[in-house]
Every structure is written in structure tokens, then in C-alpha cells.
Symmetry: C2
Amino acid sequence: MAFRLPAAALRPLRSSVHLKPTMQQTRWLATPTPFPVTQDMTSSRGPTAMVFLNMGGPSTVDEVGDFLSRLFADGDLIPLGRLQNYLGPLISKRRTPKIQKQYAAIGGGSPIRKWSEHQCDEMCKLLDQISPETAPHKPYVAFRYANPLTEHMYRQLLADGFGNGKGGRAVAFTQYPQYSCSTTGSSLNELWKWRQRLEGKAGPLDDGSDGTIKWSVIDRWPVHPGLVEAFAQNIEAKLQEYPPERRDKVVLLFSAHSLPMSVVNRGDPYPAEVGATVHAVMQRLGHVNPYRLCWQSQVGPQPWLGPQTQMSVEEYIAKGQKDLVLIPIAFTSDHIETLYELDEEVIGESGHKDTVKRVESLNGNPVFIRALADLAKTHLDSGIATSPQMSLRCPGCKSDRCHESKKFFAAQELA
Amino acid sequence: MAFRLPAAALRPLRSSVHLKPTMQQTRWLATPTPFPVTQDMTSSRGPTAMVFLNMGGPSTVDEVGDFLSRLFADGDLIPLGRLQNYLGPLISKRRTPKIQKQYAAIGGGSPIRKWSEHQCDEMCKLLDQISPETAPHKPYVAFRYANPLTEHMYRQLLADGFGNGKGGRAVAFTQYPQYSCSTTGSSLNELWKWRQRLEGKAGPLDDGSDGTIKWSVIDRWPVHPGLVEAFAQNIEAKLQEYPPERRDKVVLLFSAHSLPMSVVNRGDPYPAEVGATVHAVMQRLGHVNPYRLCWQSQVGPQPWLGPQTQMSVEEYIAKGQKDLVLIPIAFTSDHIETLYELDEEVIGESGHKDTVKRVESLNGNPVFIRALADLAKTHLDSGIATSPQMSLRCPGCKSDRCHESKKFFAAQELA
């Protein structure tokens, strides 16, 4: 079945975008050129590679060791300074048996690959419909610490006909709604590293380009209405499990992965963006229930941002508040931090498994997948390579890698 | 001139409110009673005392000593534990000469009283127009550490005919847009303390009431559209001072008063709500400029939430980013933290006074004052005493005062 050409395809670029035009785009608007017409207008700018970035997780218990060794080697996530290469392997080796047991307890591996591939596939199908001018959209997943690794994704892109003198367009779409240098920043640095290794030496072609892949980045989306709606619906569904007379008094505990205070104090934007997500969800819910934002998964002796999720649950129970709903607010699919840490440890050890509950993760939620498609469509229409916010380093940033990586993505010209 | 009766006065209560009705209100809706008709329907529920809560500041240099001694005596703001009564006076006495010099440098005193009284007066005039059913609205200001103190405000309320067997309605309206236990919480605890001292022993009257003042609370409003609009307009005005070719690259540095990490880790809601304000303002501005949220006014050796404002300015300048606009995002009028700390210290010592600037504070901004009136009108229409969020203590809270104060306000019945 052929795509019908939607009205949107006939509008000039940026028409549906909320960002102000940049200087360059203002000039473009001032001297309009005819909309380019090709024989196949429905895919005049495709194909487009849609690359989901996430941390990933071991799909089997046997992969736990490799996963942890990559994780503790990442100075963007766990800053161990000069001792990274020495301490990282030590810590990861020591933690492997314990973490293997946790993955065994949740069914033998993380479901994050399954969900990421499903979400990306389904989003690309929707995009082919709502953005035919950039179709076909080809789904890729690039994990930071597990298969499919960023390197493998990049090699696959090249094998599939992107780059290598043929150019082509790829969108790096972070699956962390809120930006942290530890998460999205680390994934982008890794993507930049492999891009430099695998395409960095490309020379100029006859047409003046260098035939490499043109990258653009969707770097954060903490208050996208579809994301907010998906969270809110899941919370409403969970609240239905409480008797009506107790329902409005249930305390909503939003829980996000914590950060070391050294990262917070450097100026990482994540805590403020998580706050924005929480407030947007509460507005959508009409502020009926009391709530708090707390932070989970602290490791090691250095100070991390609090209040801690487990402490918060224990303290509320001690105060007599036993109706609690936990909401993982900074991750879009199930993983060890929901299935083990929240379900087995925080809830399991609370002594009140009947009244302390967790909302469903977004996983295959169709409202969420439509939100992803809407985000991607808006981005593709915008013609921008990165948000102005992404190009700003943290005030306390000392990382040359961050500097170079941000410069690279911000300089991408999407003709 | 007589007020015309607006259509709103004929609608049942809560009609314009976004909050879901509580159980009690659901019952009320299920069995509607006729709207009460009085001879003077335009003020059937007035008069209403509108009480602005804020920290206050010394209006003259001579008041600095008293101001600081009250400030360092407040365990909600500066938790010194058992040593509060000993350490507080010591610290305040030692700091007085230095702080006196700062107030001398900004003209001999804080303008916060002038602005608070102006804002409250103007809001009450607007309310008399848009909420005639609760008119007349009588303006009061209650500061935590300076005149007019909460005690004096409460005595004035009684002298003006509220309470003392005559009942009457008063709204405690925090002037901190984002809720912290250190600020709004402390003001409410103080209000509750004086209410107990001055009205706590009232006995039952013939009509079954106790004739005391009925209190309700506007406890937070971090993303009110009028607040966001006022901030955004001030930022846009400041950006106009930069040449067009540099304007979109100016970094916006939102600056809020920091908190000790002990308060953050106890579960204080303030950091997340400040994050929500920042995001709402950036959305209104179309995310054109890069930005960061940073925190100012840390004192003492214990860890506070960062990144610090002064460090952020220094680091950005060191990175070559000299176009910076500072935005005080958690306070609604000028005070020592804007006029001295930001203007004299952060900007004055930056070496780049020509390119590092501060936006105007909200002060007498009519957009902001309309926002205050809209917040008050919505609250008065809602018929609720406190938000569900206000009645929830922090997970790590150990304060009996917080517990009792929250219980008191949440239990107020607005007939």
C-alpha cells in the first residue's frame, strides 16, 4: 500500500516546531526557496536511521561480568579519576556474583534489549506513516554497556549503506527523558568516539561533502506531553487498586536513579529536569495526591543526591503512611532497578507488600511509543542538529571528551 | 461605584478549579444546596484577610542585628540542633558588622517590605474586582525575621475585627513560589505558633463555632503561567541588551538560594520545584538559549546543594563564555541576595560587568501582580484549606512542630 502524502509534507520545514528560528533559519525564511520536488517526494530525504541510545543491561546472567566491567570503566558514569583503569575492574569483578544473583532473580537477564528493540521498531513504523518525507525509518539500538554496543551499531549502519561516501541521515535519540552527563552524555561521547574511529578519516568527495553520516541528536524530553500522559495513566491505573476512600491519600513516590554530589555540583542538568517531569505529571493528575521525589541506587561511600528511596519508604511507613506508590520516573522500560531494587528490595523488605506498590514501567505502552514518534517527527521537521542546551557544557566540566563531542554534534549541518 | 456582579459569582464553588473534588466535596456536588443569597451578595463571604508570608529583611542598617538573631534562631532555616540557642546568637553577633556593611551598600536597608506591601495592596485591589464575593480583601504582610513580624500581623488582624469570637477568613499566601521547609514551612510554623498563643484557647460559641479565624494556605505556585510569563518577559528584555548576533548564545543562569544537603536529603521539595519553574520558563522562551540552574548564598562548612552560582559564573568565563544573564528564580522582589550578592559580588567581581548581567526582579511588575491575584482567586474559589501536598511531611522529617502545624492547617474547615 502506497503512503498518502499528508498535508504536513507540503508545509515548509519548522512549521510545527516550537523553537524560535535561528539566525540561519531566519534568513532562510526571509528568502524562501521552492520546496524541493522529486519524483518520489514521499521519501525525498530518507532513509533515516533512528538510533536509540540507552545504558543497556545483560540479556543473560553470563553477560553480567562484561556489563559491569564496561560500566565501571566509564568515567562519565562513575568518576574514579586516575584510578579508573585500576579500580574499575576490581570493583566490577567483586560485584559480579552479587549482581548475577539479582539478574537470576528477575528471570535470568534484563528485558531492556527486548523493550528497546520493540519501542524502536514500533516508533519507526509510526514514523513511516507520519513522516513519509524522511521514510523509510530504520531502527537501531546502541547500548553503552551491553549488546548491541555502540561500536556494533555503527558498523551495522555502515554495512547497511549509511556513510562510507554515501552520506545519509541518522538521529541519535536518547532514551533517557532527562539529560545527565552520566547517561545521555556518556552515550553521545561513545557515539562520537566510534564515529571518529570509523568515519573520522573520510576525505572530501566531488560534491564537496565527505560522504559521512549526518548526525542529529534528540537529547532530552523531560516534559513531552505523551511521556507525561503515559506516566499519568499508569499511576491512575495503580491507584485504582486502592479502595476509593484511601485512594486520594496514597503518597506518590517518584524515584529516579541518583547521582554522586560531585556530578550534581559540577552542574549536571539532570536533577532539575527530573523535577520538571515530576511536576508535569502531577499537574496532569490534578495534584490530587501528596508526593515526593526520591533517588535510588546509590553505591559506594561518597555522598549522593537524596532523599534515598528506600529510606523514604521506611520513614513513611514508620510515620504510619503505608499506602505508597513508587514511580520510576527516569527510565522507560523495566530493568534491574525496577524489577529487583524496587520490587524485591524496597517493596519486598518493606513489610507492606500489599500497600506499597510500583506502577508499570512504560515498556510497550502505545501512548509512550506514540510520544516517541511525535518527538522524532518534531525533531526531523526542525532541521536542527542539537538543542542549544546540549551544546553547553556544565560549569564545572573539565572533560575534553565532552567538549569535543558536543562541538562535533553541534557543528553537524543538515542540508 | 458599585461592583457589578460577575457571572462567576453565580457559579457553584470549585467550578473553575483544576483540582479533583475531595470526598466531602463530591458529596456536596451530589446534593446541591441553593447558592446562599444575601442582601449584599457581592461581599457575602468577605472581608478576607490576605496575608503575604516572606522572610523579610531589615529596612534600616540598625535592624540588621535583630534580623540576624531571629534568622539564626530559626531551626527550620538553619538547623543547628541542640546548640541553636547557644550558637545562633554567637554567629549572628559575629556576622552583624559585615552584613550591616552590605545593607549600607545597597542603600541602607532591604526593599522587601516596600515591595511586599505594594504587591499585596495591588493584588487586593484586583481581587476586589475579580472576586467581589470575598471582598473586601485586606492586605497584611507577615515577615519571619523582620518587621512586620508574624506576631504583630496577627495582633493587627485581631484588632481589625478578625477572630476574637467573630470568626472571619484569612489566607496565608506564601511569597516563595517554590516550597521549602526552610522558608514557607518556617513561616507557616511561626503563623501556627502565634495562632495557638493568641487564639488557641477560644471556646465554643452558641453557633457551634469557636469564633477564631479560619485559615487557608496558598503554599506553592512554581509554574503558575503568570509567574512564568513575568520571568520570561524580564529575560527577554535583558537579552535585548546584547547585540542580535550574540543574543541566542547568551547563557541563562537561573540562580536560587541553596539548601544544606541535610535538608535536601531529608526530602525537602524545593529543589524539584525550582527545577520545574526553570523548565517552564525555558519552555515559554522556546528553548532558544542554553541555560543552567545554579544555587547561591551557601554559608558555613557543611555541604550545600550546588553548583554554586559564583563558581558557575567564574567557570563559564574561564571557558570563554562571557555573555551570561543571571535570573533570581526563587524570590519575587529585590533583597540582599540580588542587590549585593549577585550585583556586587558575583557580577562586580567577575571582571565582565558589561556582559554578565542580571534580570530585573519581579518587584512591582504588573504581570506578576495579576498572577498573584489569579492565584488568590483560584484558591478562594476552590474552597480548600491546603493542598494535599502541603499536608505531607518530608520522609526524613523529625519535627513535631511541622507535624502539628501541618495538621492544624489541613484540618481547617472552610464552611
